[in-house]
Structures are given as structure tokens and as C-alpha cells.
């Protein structure tokens, strides 16, 4: 009789927990970026928001920074 490989099955909950932890770590790493890099990302985010989201009533001025 052949020995079956000793596989450790991860439960779905463990797997999800691993993904959430990886995401959290990614956000923490992003938080450590230099402010100059963050501003570049901010400008890309502004472009995406203007393309994809309608302005809500009472919301202030929305324009991509011209820097």
C-alpha cells in the first residue's frame, strides 16, 4: 500500500484569514511610501474618481491637481 502524501488541508477560514492579513500588510507598506510618491498616486486616484463617480450634491470642488 502506497503512503498518501501528508497534505495539510487549510480550512477556508484559515485561507481567508491569510488573505486578509496579506492585504493589511500591503496597506501598511503603502502607508510607508514617501509623501511625494503618495501624491503621484493621489493624482491617479483623482482621475479615476472623476471618471467613475458622479458628484454628490453639496460636494466641494473636484478637479485633478495640475502640478
Amino acid at each position: 500500500m502506497k503512503n498518501k502524501p501528508n497534505k495539510v488541508k487549510e480550512s477556508a477560514a484559515d485561507y481567508a484569514a491569510k488573505i486578509f492579513k496579506a492585504k493589511k500588510d500591503f496597506h501598511k507598506e503603502q502607508a510607508k511610501l514617501p509623501i511625494e510618491e503618495k501624491i503621484k498616486i493621489l493624482i491617479e486616484l483623482q482621475k479615476i474618481v472623476l471618471k467613475t463617480q458622479k458628484q454628490k450634491p453639496g460636494e466641494g470642488l473636484r478637479q485633478v491637481w495640475k502640478i
Binding site: K24, K28, Q30, A31, L33, G60, L61
Partner: protein, 170 residues
């Protein structure tokens, strides 16, 4: 942004305000990952005047002389919509007085400390403030002792504990 910060610093040096600090979403950006925001909020302590009502007119006059345009409640300084917000309560005054120096492309500026930002967001308590508090708790390096001192001094500790229970319990 570099040019915008240079103009704001010049306004400070020319005495248009006694002290200033970046607040709002852009201040958060110094501590957490990038979030979408469109304006640069500058909290200002205005010079004392004999008038009862504080006026931002000298700031706007100075900027319009330099051809910067007013759009809605913002003034566009070197491509960035800027909002000048006079300090409006004891918490915000203290936050501006204790703001820290930060550099952007070699330009020195003042930014609110993360603990004060959190206290102001907790006090303002809009949906976007609550989202940002959660991000600050997850991503920023916060001094728990300083945060507690600020929250106690400004009567926000109960609101903070409720917030943690509701939105950020481990």
C-alpha cells in the same frame, strides 16, 4: 504641490497668519496609504485684530493680487484647490500649535500630528472621517498615550471608546 506649499509659507512669513498646518485628507496622507481627496485644507491661526469677527479677506486679497482664482469655497494655488480654515475650537487651536514640521520635495511645511487628526475626525464624525480613523488605527504609527491625553482633555474619550467598540474591535 511644492509651489503651493512655498506660497503658503510665504503668506505665513508675511504675517497673513500666525501659524498654519495642513489638515484633512492631505495630512492623513502623511501617515496612511493614499486616499482620494481633492483639496488641501490649511488650518490657520489668524493675527489678532480689533474686529470681533475674524476675516479671511486679507488672505484672499493677497492671493488675488497674485492672480490666484477663487472657485467655489477654494482658492486655486498653483493648480491645487486650497481651503483656508480658521481654527474654530480649542482642539484645533492646540492641534495647529503642536503641528510637526514635514518636508515635501525639500520644502518644509507644518502638518497636524496623527493623534490630533484622529481627535478632530472623531469630533467632526462624518462618514469619511470614520473611514479615515479606521485607516489611521490600522496603518499609522500612533502614540496611544498622546491620543488618550488629547481625547481626555477635549471630552472625546467616550466617543472614541464607542467608536472602537463599533468599528474597530479586534
Amino acid at each position: 504641490m511644492k509651489k503651493t506649499l512655498q506660497i503658503i509659507d510665504r503668506m505665513h512669513k508675511e504675517g497673513l497668519f500666525k501659524k498654519y498646518a495642513i489638515g484633512g485628507g492631505i495630512a492623513s496622507l502623511f501617515y496612511i496609504e493614499p486616499i482620494a481627496t481633492f483639496d488641501l485644507d490649511i488650518f490657520v491661526i489668524l493675527p489678532e485684530s480689533e474686529e470681533v469677527l475674524l476675516s479671511l479677506s486679507p488672505l484672499y486679497d493677497w492671493l488675488s493680487e497674485k492672480k490666484y482664482k477663487l472657485v467655489k469655497e477654494h482658492i486655486i494655488i498653483e493648480g491645487i484647490p486650497v481651503q483656508f480654515i480658521p481654527v474654530y475650537n480649542e482642539l484645533v487651536i492646540e492641534a495647529v500649535l503642536k503641528a510637526v514640521r514635514k518636508k515635501y520635495e525639500g520644502i518644509s511645511t507644518f502638518v497636524l500630528k496623527p493623534e490630533y487628526l484622529m481627535a478632530i475626525m472623531l469630533d467632526t464624525n462624518r462618514a469619511k472621517d470614520r473611514e479615515r480613523i479606521i485607516k489611521m488605527l490600522d496603518e499609522a504609527e500612533i502614540s496611544a498615550a498622546l491620543l488618550k491625553t488629547i481625547l481626555n482633555a477635549h471630552g472625546l474619550i467616550k466617543a472614541y471608546n464607542n467608536f472602537r467598540k463599533k468599528f474597530h474591535e479586534k
